[in-house]
């Protein structure tokens, strides 16, 4: 049996920045969700699963972790939609959940990895640390792919806000206004984040670009 939608939840009201982009279809969907419609939830998942999953994947670069985050986002939406007041677009809310949960996931994973490294140094566990396998041989990869891999690797090292702004702009193709709504900031701040992100990435990729 499906759990009831009528659950008391904690949800911070979102700024009205992206309210103008709220589509009528989404507003109708939210209204149905708030009435507890299972079909509306299915429609929501099917409509947004690709965007939520690919945003999480862009930030985590791991299919399993992206799947986990995407599921978590929809569960949270289901459980908190009762308090959604429609002050922002549904998509903005979903992007906000996806990016914040993905970053949270990554912070936890990094902390776990550091702890595992520390315990391995102290000899508390005799387990071997496993790193994600890299089967790619430089010569086997095409030049363009190599550059993309390098770019992804440097995107992953950007500060969180810059990384989210860059990913939403260049992979999800969101407008500056939409990114500002997701990050709960101003368009000028988004421009600044993107400018710094591009500068950092270009600086790191410069030798690779010159020799491409």
């Amino acid at each position: 049996m499906a759990p009831s939608l009528a659950l008391p939840l904690v949800f911070e009201p979102l700024p009205p920045a992206a309210a103008s982009s709220t589509g009528g279809a989404d507003a109708e969907l939210v209204a149905q969700l708030q009435q507890g419609s299972e079909a509306a939830f299915r429609t929501l998942v099917e409509r947004y699963q690709q965007r939520v999953y690919s945003t999480a994947f862009s930030l985590l670069r791991a299919a399993e972790e992206a799947e986990d985050v995407a599921q978590e986002v929809f569960v949270e939406v289901y459980q908190t939609v009762a308090t959604f007041r429609g002050e922002t677009a549904l998509s903005t809310w979903l992007y906000r959940l996806a990016t914040s949960r993905a970053l949270q996931h990554r912070r936890r994973a990094t902390a776990k990895k550091r702890f595992a490294y520390l315990t391995s140094l102290l000899g508390l566990h005799n387990q071997v640390l496993h790193h994600p396998p890299d089967h790619a041989h430089p010569l086997a990869l095409l030049e363009g792919e190599q550059q993309l891999r390098l770019l992804h690797s440097h995107i992953g090292r950007l500060p969180s806000q810059q990384q989210v702004a860059f990913t939403l702009r260049h992979e999800q193709e969101l407008s500056y206004e939409e990114i500002a709504a997701v990050l709960d900031t101003t368009v000028a701040a988004v421009e600044s984040l993107l400018f710094r992100a591009r500068q950092t990435l270009r600086r790191h990729l410069h030798p690779s670009l010159r020799h491409a």
């Binding site: 499906a2 690709q50 770019l151």
Partner: protein, 102 residues
């Protein structure tokens, strides 16, 4: 030395790289994603910390709150050790437990 103004300069290459990033096929979840979300919901029907503010979910704060409630409600008397009847403080002049008159 590469000329930044030329179509083959770093600017052009950077733009081309960003274009390639944008043109990548979007990552897709595995099939039956909705079924997995439903299964997760069924496993956890209530949100974490349901009905409680964040601070109340910390055991130390919850214990402190419990103690405060006990103290304020007066039930803390039950927590105090009972004094022996022959102790000095148990003697109340005029009370039925005072010494018998000679």
């Amino acid at each position: 030395m590469p000329n930044p103004a030329s179509p083959s300069g770093p600017d052009h290459e950077w733009e081309a790289l960003l274009r390639r990033l944008r043109q990548q096929p979007p990552a897709q979840p595995q099939p039956f994603f909705y079924a997995r979300v439903q299964a997760r919901l069924a496993a956890r029907p209530y949100p974490r910390g349901w009905g409680l503010p964040a601070w109340a979910r910390r055991p130390a704060y919850a214990a402190l709150l419990g103690t405060l409630i006990l103290l304020v409600s007066g039930d803390a008397a039950a927590l105090r050790p009972t004094e022996a009847p022959d102790s000095y403080r148990s003697y109340q002049p005029g009370s039925p437990t005072s010494r018998p008159a000679r």
